[in-house]
Point group: C2
Chain length 245, copies 2
């Protein structure tokens, strides 16, 4: 009775069939917990929206009226300090949920990196949806729990790892992302800028650039273009990421 964890849960009532950005495999745009009949009904209350690159579509501190499900593209979530310092708390792609927390305002902002499509609906609608489909609630609990584990891993990175280890962890993680599609994971694209990577890893742009250059010089990775990475030694990278060297 457990809900499948291998497919992204997508609430878009008009499911797209866009090819995977890495390979040409079609995304499975189906919701595993809600029957098609309900999905059709959803389309009358849910709004499907697009956000162009650089567009902020959730503002930290604004009244949290809606609940979001990403159905295409990549967005960054971040928090700001008054003087402009920024911490990116995560990059989210198709299947991710935003705005789950019970709070009257959003705890973070969200900005589109590439062309993002998302499904937005009111919290009231979410509540009734969860009442009708307990499986959906179960699934959300699983999702939130797993994100919590990822957040703790990121705390370890931010609190205790060196710049080298942070970059190695980041690259290893990015290469692991691609397991959903059949694409070989050694080579992959980095949709975000150096500034985004820096703000995600708690470093500066310069340190990110320098460290990547060094990792390349050591033969661990290759960087054919600023937005593309090839892992030369997955094992060595993982070892470095876990602080064993």
């Amino acid at each position: 009775m457990t809900v499948s964890l291998t497919r992204p849960l997508v609430l878009d009532p008009h499911p797209g069939t866009d090819p995977c950005v890495h390979c040409d495999a079609r995304q499975a745009s189906v919701c595993n917990a809600i029957p098609d009949s309900e999905m059709a009904r959803l389309s009358t209350t849910a709004v499907v929206m697009e956000a162009a690159p650089g567009t902020t579509f959730i503002d930290e501190g604004e009244p949290a009226a809606s609940f979001f499900n990403i159905t295409r593209g990549t967005a960054k979530l971040f928090k700001l300090l008054p003087d402009g310092r920024r911490q990116i708390t995560g990059f989210v792609t198709v299947g991710h949920f935003l705005g789950l927390a019970v709070s009257d305002t959003y705890a973070f902002s969200a900005e589109a990196i590439d062309n993002v499509r998302y499904c937005r609906f009111s919290r009231a609608r979410l509540r009734s949806l969860l009442d009708d489909f307990p499986l959906m609630e179960k699934r959300l609990l699983e999702v939130a729990s797993n994100e919590l584990v990822a957040a703790q891993e990121q705390m370890l990175l931010l609190g205790r790892k060196t710049a080298r280890e942070r970059l190695a962890s980041f690259l290893a993680m990015q290469s692991r992302q691609g397991v959903i599609c059949q694409h070989p994971r050694e080579r992959f694209a980095l949709p975000m800028t150096r500034g985004d990577i820096a703000d995600y890893l708690g470093l500066t742009i310069e340190t990110v650039s320098r460290t990547l250059t060094k990792l390349r010089a050591e033969g661990l990775i290759d960087i054919p273009s600023p937005t593309e990475v090839i892992i030369r030694s997955q094992a060595a990278l993982e070892r470095l990421a876990d602080g064993a060297s």
Copy 2:
């Protein structure tokens, strides 16, 4: 129909009536989502356990067979790197849940700071409990979502705040903890050591000590004993915590 968020949810089938560590107010050791009859039945499958200070009762990497609910005391959750570097991801007290994530091994370790009592039961039992009491599942989703928000706040701290700001944030947070009981929050105890604080804030023991000394010298706080703090200026501390100075 929403479950109360103001009281800690405690699953201990033998609820204690220990006074609050700060004042003498009795803890509300009741479960808001599960009727007493079920709580009684729970006592046949759940195990209530005690952990003495310094005892590790969850080991990262071990098979995740159980689910925990803290019913007394304070514990620290942490992750380790192979060379011993440690990141404390949180301090948990009465009402907190551990081991929610769907994973075959624990993602962190847990160690008792003072005398900890907790209720342990199998994941299978949790699953059937959630099937029987949807309110309980709703509550867990709320809890997990709010912890996720707290984790993001901590990422901002670890990635972008200075040592001063980290300590100010930590002290402000600790003083806010006491709002459940009626105790005036200016003065409170720090049950954890300087080493724990350091590993929680991504600093060293020395930096924590020096920074606290400096905050005291500046009149923001007072430290009658190493384990006790008095907030002299809550407003100034909060301002400092948010990076506005």
